[in-house]
């Protein structure tokens, strides 16, 4: 049985697809057979972030409608043979996703895969709802910014009431906080909500902090998940997150300011 992870946030542009690509790659690199699914029907982008946009033949909707088999639609990643991508449809609209269809695809994937990562679209409409409906774990990606925190709280409400686990009165979805685009220097100046502030408000288990990093744009430019850039801070942050999720005990990093030579001299 696969563990189904939804990467969600409510708000757009906080880093859901970057995170989905990174953690799916991280899990696969550690030897777990992983599939990552783009639920953003009509506005697919996961293929681009994963660098497989030119290899898309069939998509998620084709599989749901029986126009292609799952094996035909799954794209094997070129960096890691344990990782497969199921792209969203670019031409159909979101109504093409049905609960029954998504359920069947996830069930079939569950037989063969250890982890299925569902990259949720922004908003709270059908695509977002179905991305989280079947989940076992939820990675709530939040920016230290008021609208993102508020939307994350709204998603937490939906996760606890509108999921299959909630409807069946099963053990609730495990929720984790991933705080992204974090800038310790701005936190220190009092211009940005701190990790503690966000945790006080959302009361979530912190899986990791991803610092604001140039490497995220560089990675998406080249279509390589940022976790493969092991020298970069964001890449290392995602590496830690995957390790912690798998039960490793790793101290949190990237919360405090990096000290430059100037600050060291002046003891800032």
């Amino acid at each position: 049985m696969a563990r189904i992870i939804v990467v969600t946030s409510g708000k757009g542009g906080v880093g859901k697809t970057t995170t989905s690509a990174a953690i799916a790659m991280g899990l696969a690199k550690r030897g777990h057979k992983t599939a990552v699914i783009d639920f953003d029907v009509g506005l697919r982008n996961l293929d681009l972030i994963m660098g497989c946009e030119r290899r898309v033949v069939y998509d998620f909707i084709n599989v749901i409608n029986g126009e292609a088999s799952l094996n035909q639609a799954l794209i094997r990643d070129k960096h890691c043979d344990q990782l497969y991508i199921l792209p969203a449809s670019q031409t159909r609209d979101k109504d093409a996703l049905t609960q029954e269809g998504v359920g069947k695809v996830l069930e079939e994937l569950s037989k063969d895969f250890q982890y299925v990562v569902c990259d949720s679209p922004a908003g709270i409409e059908r695509g977002a709802h179905l991305a989280m409906y079947f989940a076992d774990d939820a990675f709530v990606v939040t920016n230290p910014e008021v609208s993102s925190v508020r939307d994350s709280d709204r998603m937490l409400g939906l996760l606890s009431s509108k999921s299959r686990r909630a409807e069946r009165n099963e053990e609730p979805i495990k929720e984790y906080l991933l705080l992204s685009r974090y800038a310790p220097d701005r936190v220190k100046l009092g211009d940005m909500l701190s990790v503690d502030d966000v945790q006080d408000i959302l009361s979530l288990h912190l899986l990791g902090v991803i610092p604001e990093s140039k490497s995220v744009l560089t990675a998406s430019n080249s279509g390589v998940p940022v976790i493969l850039d092991e020298k970069s801070d964001a890449g290392q942050a995602y590496g830690d997150i995957v390790a912690r999720y798998l039960g490793e005990d790793r101290p949190h990093r990237f919360i405090d300011e990096k000290k430059g030579l100037f600050a060291k001299l002046f003891g800032g």
């Binding site: 925190v149 508020r150 409400g157 009092g190 909500l193 006080d200 003891g267």
Partner: protein, 88 residues
């Protein structure tokens, strides 16, 4: 304490303002999340009935719905004006 600290401006930071606003908002939104769906309609109809007999404005009436493990409480608070009765 470094030399640089002396030059840092001390004012209420925008982050603490953000936190305060979020805490209030999130608490409010969480409480309304668990309300029964008929509550807004009930509230509206109760208000209409009260207004039929008493001269009160919207601000003098407050509704509060609370829920704990054993019971749900709907609290309705009306501040009556000096000359409450309407001439019916």
């Amino acid at each position: 304490m470094s030399l640089l600290d002396y030059f840092r401006i001390t004012k209420t930071s925008s982050a603490s303002l953000a936190k305060e606003r979020l805490q209030i908002l999130v608490a409010h939104e969480r409480s309304s999340r668990h309300q029964p769906s008929y509550l807004p309609q009930l509230q509206k109809e109760l208000l209409e009935v009260i207004k039929k007999y008493v001269n009160v404005d919207q601000e003098s009436i407050s509704f509060n719905f609370e829920q704990d493990e054993t019971q749900e409480t709907l609290e309705l608070n009306i501040v009556l004006p000096d000359h409450p009765a309407k001439n019916l």
